[in-house]
């Protein structure tokens, strides 16, 4: 996400308008509506941080409730001001969220959602039926807690009029949006985008998916709980039926989903549309038409899913862009990456990412590797050694076991027997992200770009494996893109790339992780002759300049002959031949493997 100077001006303008509203508007009904807009925008923003990790939570009301009850009980029992109680509640909610999230994140899609529903319902039923909870806490069951009225008492987060709440609400909404925006610009934002873009690719670039899911969850729970305290102090009444349970959780999710659930401003947009609607309907028509606002929510939800599955954010932004262009306010091309930062200096002349002493010890050593899938023996007693800086081709007919060996070297699954050692360290039991950290980079046979990220962002995800700051990552990424001669297209989105371009970007992305060994899975499959020659040339150059080793799985023999220094031929899970490409191609056993023993014999 980036903001042009025009966008920033608009945001400042909007904020100024919001800030000025209470000076002009004094009708408490309208102020109340604004407060609700801010409140739900805040909650939906906080909620959407989990959505950024690609998961749908329908149980966020639980954290709202934890926040509300904690600060309220601390106030009523111990006289602690809710301003502190807020933080206590938020910390508790974060702890609970992480504990619940850790096993739950292993589940995908609907199952994760169902688990979150179960969680919030458990909490609701418990509180609804418990007069006195643990430590003698008076939970008051379904009756709820009534916060004693103290009039104008800012020290304990109580105000008489609506205006102070208005500003607190506004501040909170800005806080949530700011957190969301900042996260997107930092490493975590790129990592979360990668996780929801493609999990396998994300892991191959060194991302520990669980860790980042939990970080997103923690921040989300923390903020949501703050909202709970706000609710408590504004409405001065906390009860489980309203605050906990799946109904409110779905409402929060709807605001985020309708507005645009993986964007920064989406939740705000959703709240601006839905909160006033729901409040007005409930206020004006609630008596005669109970349920109308939820009916509309549901209807809008269905329409959005059917026609605008990503929510209102993108179409609205596109509309805004057209209006701006129409008014001649801006020549809008694709916005460059954070134009606030100066154009990065031209990349330094290429140097090997890692300085290495010449070594005679092998880089990758595979011994006796074996893998079965059910009854099928995919790999059997496979040995291979790869030296530093070598280019080796792994060839063989369909079903020979090449990709299986490959995937084990990249730690995508574990072998049944045998050893794999990389620079002396065993790879057995490691995860793909750990393999990346050690210096193994890989590409995929069917390319896995992060579809909604730009090329530059894609490669930066790789760069973040070595550097921490966004600035540094950008520099490393541009260097890698230069190596594959693709820096000029850095603002194109992942899903807009052609096959050849995706292959190049994947190579750049893997290069950015600073690998010592690059595993390339059919890097030229699907390319035409020119594109193939080009990519092969680039690969050779990369090896020459950076001194890394390359293992190539390929079917295209011409490519293998031109690029590889050594070739290993696999057949039916075993290594059949090894040697210089020309020799192997001439060997009758190779012909037998590819075209069938009968053919070779005939």
């Amino acid at each position: 996400m980036s903001a042009s100077p025009l966008d920033r001006a608009l945001i400042v303008a909007a904020l100024s308008v919001f800030a000025a509203v209470p000076l002009v508007v004094s009708d408490i009904v309208y102020l109340h509506i604004f407060i609700l807009i801010f409140y739900f925008a805040f909650l939906a923003s906080a909620w959407s941080l989990v959505a950024l990790a690609g998961q749908l939570s329908l149980g966020h009301s639980a954290f709202l409730g934890i926040g509300a009850y904690t600060s309220t009980l601390l106030f009523m029992e111990l006289g602690v001001t809710p301003w502190f109680g807020m933080l206590a509640g938020a910390l508790l909610a974060t702890a609970v969220g992480v504990v619940v999230g850790w096993p739950a994140f292993r589940l995908r899609g609907p199952y994760f959602a169902l688990t979150t529903i179960a969680f919030t319902e458990i909490l609701r039923i418990y509180v609804e039926n418990t007069e006195t909870g643990p430590f003698g806490l008076p939970l008051r069951a379904a009756m709820g807690l009534l916060i004693p009225l103290r009039g104008e008492a800012p020290a304990i987060f109580q105000f008489e009029g609506k205006v102070p709440y208005y500003y607190v609400g506004l501040a909170m909404m800005c806080l949530a949006v700011l957190v969301s925006h900042s996260m997107n610009r930092m490493r975590i934002g790129y990592y979360l985008a990668a996780i929801r873009g493609d999990r396998d690719a994300a892991e191959s670039l060194g991302i520990n998916i669980t860790t980042y899911n939990l970080i997103a969850m923690a921040i989300s729970c923390f903020l949501t709980a703050l909202g709970g305290t706000f609710y408590a102090q504004y409405f001065r009444y906390v009860n489980p039926t309203r605050l906990l349970g799946v109904d409110l959780a779905i409402e929060i999710a709807l605001v985020g989903l309708i507005g645009g659930w993986q964007t920064v401003l989406g939740p705000v947009i959703g709240s601006i549309l839905l909160s006033p609607t729901s409040e007005i309907i409930r206020g004006q028509l609630g008596g005669t038409y109970a349920g109308l606002h939820l009916f509309l929510y549901g209807l809008v939800m269905m329409l959005v899913i059917l026609f605008l599955p990503k929510g209102l954010h993108d179409p609205l932004m596109a509309l805004l862009a057209r209006i701006e262009a129409g008014l001649g306010l801006t020549t809008r091309g694709r916005p460059a990456e954070a134009p606030g930062a100066p154009e990065p200096a031209p990349p330094a002349p290429l140097s090997p990412i890692r300085a290495r002493a010449a070594t005679s010890a092998p880089l990758l050593e595979i011994r006796g590797l074996a893998k079965r899938f059910g009854g099928l023996v995919a790999v059997n007693d496979f040995d291979l050694t790869v030296a530093d800086g070598e280019i080796l081709g792994l060839i063989g007919p369909n079903g020979a076991g090449k990709t299986t060996v490959f995937n084990m070297a990249a730690c995508y699954f574990q072998p049944d027997a045998g050893q794999i050692a990389f620079a002396g360290k065993s790879l057995i039991g490691l995860r793909p992200d750990q393999a990346c950290a050690l210096g193994i980079g890989r590409t995929f046979q069917v390319t896995k770009p992060f579809p909604e990220s730009t090329v530059l962002a894609n490669v930066m995800v790789g760069a973040f494996c070595r550097v921490r700051s966004t600035r540094e990552a950008r520099r490393v990424a541009l260097e890698a893109l230069d190596t594959v001669e693709f820096a000029h297209r850095r603002d194109v989105l992942g899903h807009e790339l052609t096959v050849a371009e995706r292959k190049r970007v994947e190579v750049a992305r893997a290069l950015a992780t600073g690998p010592r060994l690059l595993l390339l899975d059919e890097p030229i499959a699907g390319l035409n002759a020119t594109e193939k020659a080009h990519l092969l040339g680039l690969l050779r150059e990369v090896r020459d300049r950076r001194g890394l080793a390359i293992i190539l799985v390929e079917h295209d023999m011409k490519a293998v002959m031109s690029l590889c220094e050594r070739v290993a031929l696999m057949h039916r899970g075993e290594k059949l031949l090894e040697g210089a490409p020309a020799e192997v191609a001439r060997d009758p056993r190779a012909i037998a493997a590819y075209l069938g023993e009968d053919y070779a014999a005939a």
């Binding site: 749908l56 199952y111 169902l114 179960a118 319902e121 039926n129 549901g298 059917l306 599955p309």
Partner: protein, 295 residues
């Protein structure tokens, strides 16, 4: 003591039959179409309203409304799949995969249905009083509610009926084949989208029949959907995703656990207990007891 335990066991079984009856449709749809039907609760509610109004306006006994409500909701289910959900299947091939899309669509539909009911029928609880099939009958030392027992029996009948349909008919075999391998089925000449439509229709019809059968003892109101839907999900997950008999087994287990637990712990804790069990199963063995699908 033994008597109370036995009583709660039997009550639990009857309750479990109830849960199972309303869960088997969900399992069928999930197993074949692979859709998590978040509108399950409100479809049940709609069927119950249909049955109720047939009784209130035309004096049709809820059990006799089954031949009307069943086919009616088959058509409704067919239409829901064909009109609302199919575009998403078609579209998913073109765009980045959004597995949650259908879930959210159904969640929206659920809100629409339940609030339409609220708008038109108000929040009142409505019950149908029937002379046939109300009351109790003696069973050993207990008195069992007739309508609940009928639902229990119905659960088994419907499970058996579905099993027969799936195993012994041309259509059923086609449905099973689609559930196992959509592409291979297409290559055999099966119209996969039509199978989805029919399956959704069947699942909804089965749900509607169960709904009609519980009208005699369960009050109809617009908000009744979600709690029963959650029970259905629990039963399906417990018994195994994609297994129709599994849903019945899951329902029975759920009913017995709830009923027996209620003897030893306060009702609240019993309710929480089933949720906890649900969460635990989801997290540790989402395939459930008899499931055939990978999660």
């Amino acid at each position: 003591m033994i008597e109370t335990l036995a009583q709660s066991l039997v009550t639990g079984l009857l309750l479990g039959g109830f849960y199972g009856a309303i869960a088997i449709g969900l399992s069928l749809i999930f197993g074949i179409v692979r859709v998590v039907n978040f509108a399950h609760g409100s479809l049940l509610m709609a069927a119950m309203y249909a049955s109720y109004w047939l009784w209130a306006l035309l004096g049709v006994n809820p059990y006799l409304s089954i031949p009307i409500v069943g086919p009616l909701f088959f058509v409704l289910g067919y239409a829901v799949q064909n009109v609302l959900i199919r575009p998403m299947f078609v579209r998913e091939r073109a765009l980045v995969i959004e597995p949650l899309g259908v879930l959210l669509l159904m969640a929206g539909f659920d809100l629409v249905l339940s609030n339409l009911a609220l708008l038109f029928f108000r929040a009142d609880y409505r019950g149908a009083t029937v002379t046939f099939g109300s009351g109790t009958f003696p069973f050993f030392f207990m008195d069992l509610s007739i309508p609940r027992t009928l639902v229990f029996v119905l659960a088994f009948v419907m499970t058996g009926g579905l099993a027969w349909l799936l195993k012994r008919t041309e259509l059923g075999t086609a449905i099973r084949s689609v559930g196992q391998n959509r592409e291979a089925a297409a290559l055999c000449g099966v119209n996969v989208y039509r199978v989805y439509n029919v399956t959704f229709g069947l699942g909804t019809a089965v749900l509607a029949i169960a709904g009609a059968a519980i009208v005699p003892f369960y009050y109809v109101n617009p908000a009744m959907g979600p709690p029963l839907a959650i029970k259905s999900f629990m039963a399906v997950v417990l018994g195994g995703l994609g297994s129709v008999p599994g849903a019945l087994v899951g329902g029975l287990v759920l009913g017995v656990v709830e009923s027996v637990a209620a003897q030893f712990v306060p009702a609240t804790a019993a309710a929480i207990f089933s949720f906890v069990l649900f969460a635990v199963v989801l997290l540790t063995r989402p395939r459930g007891l008899m499931g055939t699908l990978d999660v």
